[in-house]
């Protein structure tokens, strides 16, 4: 007797994209970081691609599963790193949700990959920073780090937006990968 769980097309897409995001996440964790909390955020490019191609709901799955499974694989699950990462991811998907809702409600002002990338990076840094401040280091001197960290986040957000845009352009131009 085998029990089959019915999976949908969306489930498969989420699984594949999450696997891709986790791979990048782990590769990225091997890179030395100049400052704690600063990462290029290349794994977020996958979230942005999913957002632009399949919508916000799918992007939330990919972003949160990536943080969860990535932390289990890296051995940081339930550690401070994990909670910072989770806070960042939650803030980021919330901001993307806002941007997504605006884009759907007012198509004339719809966001593209760059806008989403910037929004996600700034929200990620904000969520992560205030989680660090509230949970781990509630020291006023930490606040001095907030502006430069946000500056870096803005730059890296634009970079991830540009990367997302070029990947999307390639995905759109090759018919074999278009699923919808």
């Amino acid at each position: 007797m085998t029990q089959l769980i019915q999976t949908t097309r969306d489930d498969h897409l989420i699984a594949w994209f999450t696997a891709l995001a986790i791979t990048i996440h782990i590769a990225e964790s091997a890179l030395p970081s100049p400052l704690p909390g600063v990462k290029p955020g290349l794994a977020n490019v996958v979230t942005l691609i999913v957002l632009c191609r399949y919508g916000w709901r799918m992007a939330v799955w990919v972003a949160l599963l990536r943080v969860l499974i990535g932390s289990v694989l890296l051995g940081t699950f339930l550690s401070p790193t994990f909670f910072l990462s989770l806070s960042g991811a939650l803030a980021s998907v919330a901001a993307l949700g806002l941007g997504w809702a605006v884009s759907r409600a007012v198509p004339g002002w719809a966001l593209g990959p760059l806008g989403f990338g910037l929004l996600a990076a700034l929200a990620h840094m904000t969520g992560q920073f205030w989680a660090a401040y509230a949970l781990f280091i509630p020291h006023p001197a930490l606040l001095h780090l907030f502006p430069p960290l946000m500056t870096l986040a803005a730059v890296l957000g634009i970079v991830s937006g540009v990367l997302t845009r070029s990947v999307l352009a390639r995905l759109n131009s090759s018919p074999s990968t278009s699923i919808d």
Binding site: C52, G112, N172
Partner: protein, 127 residues
Amino acid sequence: MNNRLNTWLTRGDWLVLIATLLLVPNLYAAYWHGSGQGLEARVWVDGKPWARLDLFREQHLDVPGVLGVSHLEIGNGQVRFTNSPCQNRQCIHTGWLSEGGDVAACLPNRVSVQIMADDPRFDSINF
């Protein structure tokens, strides 16, 4: 969705970009503004307020921390660690503090000192 790739920046993207360009300098203004010359320093030991010091009364102070005694030098509107029973002497290398909001801490010894200004930016401090 494809039509969004025709341009690098949509109108919405411009909006986000401009909002970011406005936001970031304001963050520097909000979090980096100096509170000016401080008049008073507060010393914490093991997370509890230990003393309030007049920065213009010259004195040397022994602060009993968790590991041992940290020495503070106060005067001329400034305060600094001169000795502390820690490994890295991070607190001593911080040097003189004079601006409101400036902090030096000896974490191993659980001693910290912060300059308070007329308009303190923070109501409380926790470790």
